[in-house]
């Protein structure tokens, strides 16, 4: 059974993948289905949903098309989630591999630095970073990665500590490979799988953190974000609660999809080993 | 009423369509006897022990009958059957003091209060010849040696005065000297409490010191069964003879001559 088929045979993986596929479709099709600036005025303000079929989910406080905002917001969430996860995994894997491979004082120092980054609450750090450098998409990604890299770093280091005792590393050393080259060419690729297993958790966390930052007004002001939509809807919470509720549902479904796919991946590899 | 347990046509497979771990087993266990089940890995001897004790894993399929004419009711683990596992560390909860683990068995079956059960536990720990039972009952498993842990396991197995004690490779994970001590301990306890003993082992020499009867298992079937003396001196089956021959004792002739080394 091919890997993909096996993966999709697990119900969690199938449903998770379905949700993520829908999300990706939303993100990719946004400029096609809703061309133009999603933040422009599209109709009368506070139009309830399901009344005007050219504005299926109604409009917000300023008259913007909620459905268009929802679709364009998917782009931001997906972009931030994937970019932040990639950055965190890359930094973390690098630091963890170097620490585990170098050992001794360098390892100790790097681990204390990792501890420091884990001790400061990640959201506070992101808050401080974004407020200092200024809100933009890249800054938000960097802010999230600033605290998210510690998890992959620890996992990578643990893997490397066990790998570096193995024969093929000793062989590389005998051949005369430079230690840094060994670390990056032999050890790092083999330490990656458990690190990558963290990716679903990191992506989900990144999306939620970005939403929280946008909610507090620290997201990219030029982009539509679900968090920003929730914040906007808060001002009319009594009269039009759906404006805050709907983007939140989108967030829940997205994160749920990621978790399901992640759990499904774990399940399917367990199935392959014949454990379940 | 002269049979404790009777096994009739027992067959066991660990999976519904899997290979048979046991087949066509007919066996009577007499009260007060010491029966050894001997066999190599995969012979089904542990499976028999687990089946008799009702400890087969979920998903295992069992056919045939295990009757208990020697008991007034269906057997209950702890109360009627004491089980000692092969791995001493694996049979004890790592975060609970060993004394409490023995006491909880007494409390579960003898209707004792916690204080009475703790007292009984202390007596049992002394009976299995653990040093300073009063102190050791507060110890945790990781603080004890393998032999000490196994003694605790034995104490827990006999805490509720069961009629049948099953020792499933109870000494196989221990050092040789400790092995001998544990075997001696089991022999003494069984005699003192009048228990029936089912001793599972791969070591026929060890079993022959302990058992009245020996049953030899191979590939899920009984090859031979009879009194120890008879089996050991005049084995009827070739397989039994092979098992006996394979055992190397100190009085056996050396494999290589010590006179001249090979060039």
């Amino acid at each position: 059974m091919s890997r993909l088929a096996r993966f999709l045979s697990v119900p969690e993986a199938a449903s998770g993948t379905l949700i993520l596929a829908l999300l990706a479709a939303m993100a990719l099709l946004a400029p096609v289905l809703f061309p133009g600036d999603p933040m422009r005025i599209a109709g009368p303000a506070l139009l309830p949903p399901f009344q005007d079929w050219s504005l299926p989910l109604g409009t917000d406080r300023l008259g913007r098309d909620v459905l268009a905002e929802l679709f364009h917001g998917a782009r931001t969430s997906l972009a931030v989630g994937l970019a932040a996860a990639a950055a965190s995994l890359a930094i973390g894997a690098l630091v963890g591999t170097l620490a585990g491979f170098a050992g001794g004082l360098a390892d100790e120092a790097l681990m204390r630095v990792t501890d420091a980054f884990q001790t400061v609450p990640g959201f506070l750090l992101a808050l401080a970073f974004v407020s200092i450098v200024g809100p933009s998409l890249g800054v938000v990604v960097a802010a999230i990665a600033l605290s998210a890299w510690t998890g992959p770093a620890r996992v990578a280091r643990a893997e490397v500590l066990s790998i570096r005792e193995r024969d093929y590393v000793a062989a590389a050393r005998v051949v005369g490979m430079h230690p840094v080259e060994i670390a990056l060419r032999e050890v790092l690729p083999n330490a990656l799988p458990p690190v990558l297993a963290l990716s679903s958790v990191i992506v989900a966390g990144a999306i939620l953190t970005e939403a929280a930052l946008s909610f507090l007004g620290l997201g990219d002001p030029n982009r539509v974000t679900w968090g920003g939509m929730i914040a906007e809807g808060r001002t009319v919470l009594r009269s039009a609660p759906f404006l805050s509720v709907v983007p939140g549902i989108a967030l829940v479904l997205t994160v749920l999809g990621i978790y399901l796919a992640g759990e499904g991946a774990v399940e399917s590899s367990a199935v392959r080993k014949g454990l379940s | 009423m002269s049979v404790l347990a009777s096994v009739r046509d027992l067959a066991v497979a660990y999976r519904r369509d899997g290979p048979l771990a046991l087949q066509g087993i007919d066996l009577d266990i007499m009260p007060g006897e010491r029966l050894a089940i001997i066999g190599e890995s995969g012979s089904g001897k542990s499976t028999l022990a687990l089946a008799i004790a009702g400890l087969l894993p979920a998903g295992a399929v069992q056919e045939g009958r295990i009757g208990w004419p020697g008991l007034a009711r269906a057997p209950l683990g702890g109360r009627d059957i004491g089980f000692v596992f092969q791995d001493p560390a694996g049979s004890l909860d790592p975060v609970m003091p060993v004394g409490r683990q023995v006491a909880e068995v007494a409390r579960a079956h003898l209707g004792l209060s916690w204080r009475q059960a703790q007292e009984r536990a202390r007596e049992l720990l002394a009976r299995v010849r653990l040093p300073e039972p009063d102190a050791i009952r507060h110890a945790f498993p990781h603080q004890l040696s393998g032999g000490q842990k196994q003694r605790v396991a034995i104490a827990a197995a006999i805490a509720a005065r069961p009629k049948l004690l099953i020792a499933d490779e109870a000494t196989s994970a221990l050092d040789t000297i400790v092995q001998a001590e544990i075997v001696a301990l089991i022999r003494q306890l069984v005699a003192e409490d009048g228990m029936t003993l089912l001793f599972i082992s791969h070591d026929i020499a060890l079993a022959s010191e302990l058992a009245d009867r020996i049953a030899v298992f191979r590939a899920g079937r009984i090859v031979e069964i009879g009194a120890t003396a008879a089996i050991v001196t005049r084995p009827a089956q070739a397989y039994t003879r092979a098992l006996l021959d394979a055992h190397i004792g100190l009085d056996a002739a050396p494999l290589f001559s010590s006179e001249r080394p090979h060039a």
Binding site: R112, D115, A116, T119, V120, P121, F123, L124, L125, L127, A128, F129, S131, I132, V133, A204, A211, A212, F215, L216, I230, G233, R234, L237, R238, S244, V245, P247, G248, L251, V252, L253, T254, V255, L256, Y259 | A53, L55, G77, G78, R79, I81, G82, F83, F85, D87, G90, S91, L92, P94, V95, M96, E104, V105, A108, H109, F140, H142, Q143, A156
Partner: protein, 328 residues
């Protein structure tokens, strides 16, 4: 007791290093901000170049970075966190005022999520694969995906606006003059929704951890041995399976404390609870860099203290910890 002390001493030494890195790191981060507290003050209050010069000198912002770092470290040694620009008060005072509210919020949320989460997890894990197990598993996964601030808004809409069971914001009824038990009850009533919003995600987490942990422990040999000894099922579930599965949850308590502190920022914002998290948001809004730095430092100290306490609790619960060092 020896075990705990050996552990504590080693962790304290490590913590000092970590704290030093946090201090220096945060200082450098906040130094890199374009414009400083004086610019923010001038932007808000207005003034000329002369005033800028004078303020810079008064607040010591015209000296070199290294000098300022040294001054800051010296002040820290005297437990002086500097002066808040936004509030014109010592930062230490501002933080100490707000800290108890956050501690109350976090403490309650942790107690709720840990207690209820583990209990439900035990309930689910006592029968792996049963209907209640699967139901709670899926339910908790859905809860785990919910953003806390959004949940806060939804709860507000339902319970405060529509049904008026709970107040919308704040930590207590202003100027009510209540004392003692009545005041405590009033605060509890105000904190109900914030605690729920903050705690739900962790409730799901502990539920899932307990469930998964129990499923794993059920398969272990010593549980089979306990069944062989005829121990009652209920006792096996609680005294053996759950008791062993509890250990990773305790560790998680420490690890999640940093995240929960971060989460309190948004929750306190949504519910206008005057705590440390809300203070951080205000500091950001008013570009009060020294205050932000002070909050980050105090948060780090808080996380370190919580982790130390958790480690001690863990050592008390797991007799195997530190056994080789303390010479058991």
């Amino acid at each position: 007791m020896t075990r705990a002390l050996v552990l504590l001493r080693r962790r304290l030494v490590g913590s000092v290093f970590v704290l030093a890195i946090v201090v220096v790191g945060t200082f450098l981060l906040l130094e890199s901000a374009p414009g400083d507290a004086v610019d923010a003050y001038i932007a808000a209050t207005g003034g000329d170049a002369g005033l800028v010069e004078a303020l810079r000198q008064r607040w010591g912002l015209d000296q070199s970075e290294l000098t300022r770092l040294a001054n800051y470290l010296w002040a820290l040694a005297h437990l002086d966190l500097g002066q808040s620009v936004a509030f014109s008060r010592p930062i230490r005072d501002v933080i100490l005022e707000r800290l108890p509210n956050t501690l109350l919020l976090m403490g309650s949320a942790t107690a709720l999520s840990f207690g209820l989460g583990s209990a439900l997890g035990i309930y689910a894990g006592s029968r792996p694969g049963s209907f209640r197990d699967r139901f709670l598993s899926i339910g908790s996964l859905a809860l785990y995906a919910v953003p806390g601030f959004w949940l806060g808004l939804v709860l507000t809409v339902l319970f405060s606006v529509k049904w008026r069971w709970f107040p919308i914001a704040g930590i207590e009824t202003v100027a009510s003059g209540r004392t003692g038990f009545a005041r405590a009850a009033d605060i509890a009533w105000h904190l109900a929704l914030p605690v729920a919003s903050l705690g739900v995600i962790y409730l799901a987490l502990y539920l899932r951890m307990m469930r998964a942990g129990m499923a794993e422990i059920w398969r272990m040999d010593f549980i089979r041995a306990a069944r062989a000894r005829g121990i009652a099922r209920r006792r096996i579930v609680l005294a053996h399976v759950a008791r062993n599965a509890l250990l990773p949850l305790v560790t998680m308590l420490g690890l999640q404390s940093a995240q929960m502190l971060g989460g309190s920022v948004v929750i306190e914002s949504v519910f206008s609870v005057p705590g440390l998290g809300r203070l951080a948001q205000e500091a950001v809004a008013q570009r009060d860099t020294p205050l932000l730095l002070g909050i980050i430092l105090i948060s780090a100290v808080l996380v370190i203290v919580i982790n130390l306490l958790v480690d001690i609790a863990y050592a008390a619960l797991d007799p195997r910890v530190g056994a080789s060092e303390a010479g058991a």
